[in-house]
């Protein structure tokens, strides 16, 4: 960059440099505005507007008289304009920008990424909460309402972590916490879903190969009857008005006897 400034100094006079700098400023302004406009159009075209509708960030933005598109557009425009201003300074040689320039170029993308991480985190978190809520709608248990919120705050936490790490704040402690949390969730899920997973794995084999099918008479353990239904997790076997619902893991472990007469 220093080279560039020196070269410019060599080639052109101070006045021309100043005019050039002013032009760069005006051009930067125009480009920044175009970027801002373009973000709005992009949001509308891709349907992102509908996606972010009603999320926390959109509501927060609405309170300041703008929208998510406005914030993202503003951020982009600001960075474009910032680059233009720095470039103009550099050209006009108002002050020795080389050090400043180096720092800003290093920090600016990071700040941008951090801001985006926060915005995306908020949006994804809210959307995930809605999705989980929708899925659990038929479960009318008060305990179930904790789950969507848990999902939301987990996503917020990760977004915040990414943002902080970008800016350069020490996040090791938070990262350890996250690891412990994820480990706990995975462990709990593994314990809780152990039987379901085993049945599911067996069920995939049974459904693909169909060693027995609906209507066959079979014996599993000491239950004998007609197969009425096969799903990924269980097999329904019916005999004398009793319908046994047998986990597929059991079918697989114990083996099946097909009765042919």
């Amino acid at each position: 960059m220093v080279n560039l400034a020196e070269q410019i100094n060599d080639v052109i006079s101070a006045e021309t440099a100043f005019t050039l700098a002013a032009t760069v400023l005006v051009l930067g302004l125009v480009v920044a505005y175009l970027v801002w406009r373009w973000t709005h159009t992009l949001f509308r075209r891709t349907g992102l507007d509908d996606v972010v509708e009603g999320t926390t960030i959109e509501r927060g933005a609405g309170r300041f008289g703008t929208s998510t598109a406005g914030i993202v557009g503003g951020l982009l425009a600001l960075s474009v304009y910032g680059v233009a201003v720095l470039f103009a300074f550099n050209v006009a040689q108002v002050f020795d920008t080389s050090v400043f320039w180096a720092q800003v170029t290093a920090l600016l993308p990071k700040l941008l990424v951090a801001a985006f991480a926060v915005i995306v985190g908020f949006i994804v978190g809210d959307e995930a909460e809605l999705v989980v809520q929708e899925r659990l709608r038929s479960v009318k248990l008060p305990e179930a309402s904790v789950l969507p919120r848990l999902v939301k705050y987990s996503i917020y936490y990760i977004a915040a972590l990414i943002a902080l790490a970008q800016v350069g704040v020490a996040t090791t402690a938070l990262l350890v916490l996250l690891t412990a949390y994820v480990f706990g969730v995975v462990l709990l899920a593994a314990v809780a879903f152990k039987d379901l997973l085993a049945s599911g794995a067996a069920g995939i084999y049974l459904l693909l190969n169909q060693p027995y099918s609906i209507g066959d008479e079979v014996r599993v353990d000491d239950r004998r009857g007609i197969v009425q239904e096969m799903t990924i997790f269980v097999t329904h076997v019916e005999a004398d008005g009793k319908e046994y619902i047998i986990p597929n893991s059991r079918v697989f472990r114990g083996g099946i006897v097909r009765i042919r007469e």
Binding site: Q210, I214, G215, I226
Partner: protein
């Protein structure tokens, strides 16, 4: 003007319950807090009402809709036989209530059609899906020609043991569910095949091309219906299945349960 008001007041006087055929939240909210019970009737419980009667189909005719609603409400014990009810529904408008009907709950003979959906072995959604497929098939036919079809829903294990294959089963080792959108097209093509479709409790198409071999004694179906109806009716007597038959000759969709005819629909009306 007063004459009209008297008539309207007479319609709503002393009713025991209101049947609300609307899935509009704001309409439902207006009825909240009324002293007489409001029963929401619809294909889905969009308003989250506590007293709700599911409708198996989107009935186009007001009379059919009211009738099914009342039958469902009686089956659920929400109405007594001698209750007077007012049904609020749409006849012409697509979106807002425009019709009030006053009916005595026992005005219709109990056909057991509600029973067909709710108390069948198969899931009520599966029965509904199959009925929709049959209606669709009846309306469009196969390449414009009328087709017949026989679906045996539920108790598939027993049905399979009371039938034999006519040819290779095209659904062998496949995982096709009647709820899938592709099924309409697929069944339309397969309806050329002779024999019955067997569908499990959970909606899986187990087999096509089945020749049903039930004992036909004691089956009470109207005279004049053909072999397809007889086979369908008879299998429901021998098993806990429900049979849904699309007639090739008159294009009607009929449902059988426990050996008797419980529902007769004209596909053109839906």
């Amino acid at each position: 003007m007063s004459g009209m008001e008297t008539v309207v007041e007479e319609i709503i006087a002393d009713v025991d319950a209101v049947l609300l055929f609307s899935t509009d939240q704001s309409t439902y909210d207006r009825f909240e807090g009324d002293e007489r019970p409001t029963i929401v009737v619809g294909t889905d419980n969009a308003v989250g009402a506590e007293v709700y009667v599911p409708l198996p189909l989107e009935f186009a005719q007001t009379s059919a809709r009211v009738r099914f609603g009342i039958e469902g409400a009686i089956d659920q014990g929400l109405l007594e036989e001698d209750d007077e009810v007012v049904g609020l529904t749409q006849s012409f408008s697509e979106s807002r209530l425009d019709t009030a009907v006053r009916v005595r709950a026992d005005e219709f003979t109990h056909s057991g059609v509600y029973d067909l959906f709710v108390n069948s072995r198969a899931d009520s959604e599966v029965v509904r899906d199959v009925l929709e497929v049959a209606i669709e098939l009846g309306r469009k036919g196969q390449k414009g020609k009328p087709v017949g079809a026989l679906f045996v829903v539920g108790d598939a294990g027993k049905v399979m043991n009371k039938s034999r294959p006519l040819s290779y089963n095209p659904f062998e080792k496949s995982h096709v569910d009647v709820g899938d959108p592709i099924v309409n097209v697929m069944l339309k093509e397969f309806s050329r095949l002779d024999g019955a479709f067997v569908i499990s409790d959970g909606g899986k198409i187990v087999s096509a091309y089945r020749y049903l071999e039930p004992g036909a004694e004691g089956v009470d179906i109207p005279k004049g219906l053909g072999a397809r109806h007889m086979a369908g009716g008879a299998i429901t007597r021998d098993t806990n299945a429900v049979a849904i038959v699309l007639s090739e000759s008159d294009g009607m969709v009929r449902a059988f349960k426990a050996g008797s005819l419980v529902l007769e629909l004209d596909p053109e009306e839906y």
